[in-house]
């Protein structure tokens, strides 16, 4: 009965003694060895059926199992079968010791997984091709962006250069001391603008050097606001802070987060050159939907129900036409709202937030002005002391 069951199993089943001689071989195994009955196999070794290198390999494996007493389970091996065909086998071998009949040997079971293995290899190849294609597409996209940037950089840098050049030309032709100061001021401001463009361009191209730390967003925002206080006074802007009473811990690069907050605040200030109200609110939220106004599908970044830190920066300046709400994150996009600046501020914001696995989006407020919203994944509170 047991013999019939063993023969019925489609996997190769065999028993060998401690000298490597076959004691039992089921029908599947016999087929593989191209033998008719088990009598053709009993007493013979792997050397009788396989090439010497394969047979030696089997023998070494078996000896290892016998000496160590440890089984070898689910070992994938590529082998040539008795017909010379390349095949993949999934083999388990366990030591077998029967004291009552003084037997020591191994039991093996081996399954042909050639079809599955070939499919896996093909899948890996396809994945490799896909990755290559994706890289090529990314390169093409990068080239496109670089092309756009080069044209924009030319525009942004040549304008300040034009001013400096005209100033110098004037100075060369005239020597009116009283006008000298105004000219020099304009020239140095223009040069500073050019410097700023190059600086932000580098930031845009190289923002991946992040140094992560556990930071409390509320404290980080306070620092950024402090730096901008003189600017807010100059623009006659009233600031309201409405912070979440609990600390908002996130894993982030504090310097980059400062840069994000400052860029968004500067953007808001530019839209309120005749004064206005600016508010910063922070809270802890759970992701409820896909967030149509966040510039990207939130489910690609977060899991529904995930806790995130939310920062809202709201201004009372002029809004942004709906069709431009996404374009403002493109490098060098200019709008009526913000004709000053380098045109890189918001694209730097987006790149930094993307690198923090967060999301950022702008929307027009129903009461006027713009709301910039940042979502960042909340992390554990750091262990203090």
């Amino acid at each position: 009965m047991l013999r019939r069951v063993v023969d019925f199993i489609p996997d190769n089943i065999f028993i060998k003694d401690d000298l490597g001689r076959y004691i039992l071989s089921n029908k599947a195994h016999l087929r593989d060895l191209k033998m008719e009955t088990w009598i053709d196999v009993v007493g013979k070794t792997a050397y009788d059926f396989f090439s010497s290198d394969i047979a030696q390999d089997y023998h070494q494996q078996d000896l290892g199992i016998l000496h160590s007493g440890c089984p070898k389970l689910n070992v994938e091996e590529e082998r040539k079968d008795t017909n010379g065909k390349q095949r993949w086998l999934l083999t388990s071998k366990v030591p077998l010791e029967l004291e009552e009949i003084d037997f020591k040997g191994i039991v093996g079971i081996s399954r042909d997984v050639t079809v599955r293995k070939n499919a896996e290899i093909q899948l890996k190849e396809t994945l490799k091709v896909l990755k290559n294609t994706q890289l090529k597409l990314l390169d093409a996209e990068k080239l496109k962006t670089m092309g756009r940037m080069a044209a924009s950089v030319a525009h942004e840098i040549k304008n300040p250069l034009a001013i400096v050049s005209l100033g110098l030309e004037y100075l060369q032709k005239n020597n009116k001391q009283q006008e000298l100061e105004e000219i020099l001021t304009d020239m140095s401001e223009a040069l500073e603008n050019a410097n700023q463009v190059i600086f932000e361009l580098l930031e845009y191209a190289r923002p991946h050097d992040l140094e992560f730390a556990q930071i409390n967003l509320n404290e980080e925002i306070k620092k950024s606001v402090h730096m901008l206080k003189p600017k807010l006074q100059e623009f006659n802007i009233v600031l309201t802070l409405d912070f979440c009473c609990e600390p908002l811990w996130v894993k982030a690069d504090p310097l980059k987060i400062d840069q994000v907050i400052i860029n968004l605040l500067m953007n808001a200030c530019s839209a309120m050159d005749r004064g206005g109200h600016l508010s910063i609110k922070t809270c802890s939220e759970r992701i409820k939907g896909t967030g149509a106004k966040m510039g990207r599908n939130l489910s690609e970044v977060f899991q529904i129900g995930q806790r995130v830190a939310q920062i809202d920066i709201e201004d009372s300046g002029c809004g942004i036409p709906e069709k431009h709400l996404l374009e403002v994150f493109e490098p060098f996009f200019t709008s009526n709202r913000c004709s000053e600046g380098t045109g890189l501020g918001l694209s730097v914001v987006k790149t930094i937030i993307d690198l923090h696995h967060g999301a950022v989006g702008l929307s027009n407020r129903s009461c006027g002005g713009v709301r910039a919203r940042i979502l960042l994944p909340i992390s554990q509170q750091p262990n203090i002391g």
Binding site: A151, A154, H155, S165, L166, E169, Y170, N174, I183, S339
Partner: protein
């Protein structure tokens, strides 16, 4: 194109969104003593300024927020009293390789590359007026 009258100076309207640029260019052109200059930094109000000022030549930036130089030129040319006024486009998007040191023509329009050399601009203005 001729000047308004033989005795008055040539009227030039400079339209560019960069105040420091218009100020510098105005100072340089004022310095020649041959021109009456007006500047405007917001393209949206430039058309009204042109109608009020009635310039002999317009120097016009191409890339400006709001209304760009191309659209503004179309609006200027759509006005009966302004359509004959020559326009020189001054653009930072034009390279020296395209423009060389002087004015170059593209699509029947005159372009001058930033940074602008005052002597070249004055020479071009004189050629247009004569």
């Amino acid at each position: 194109m001729k000047k308004n009258t033989e005795n008055s100076s040539t009227k030039i309207l400079i339209i560019d969104d960069e105040p420091a640029f218009t100020r510098m260019l105005k100072m340089n052109l004022d310095d020649t003593g041959s021109y009456e200059i007006e500047t405007v930094n917001q393209s949206m109000i430039a058309l009204k300024k042109a109608l009020d000022f009635e310039p002999d030549i317009i120097l016009l930036d191409v890339v400006m927020p709001g209304l760009d130089g191309g659209d503004l030129a179309a609006q200027i040319r759509a006005k009966q009293q302004l359509k004959a006024i020559p326009i020189i486009f001054i653009s930072a998007m034009v390279g020296r390789s395209e423009a060389g040191e002087g004015v170059f023509m593209s699509g029947g329009e005159r372009f001058l590359a930033k940074p602008v050399k005052v002597d070249i601009l004055v020479k071009e203005i004189q050629e247009i007026l004569n």
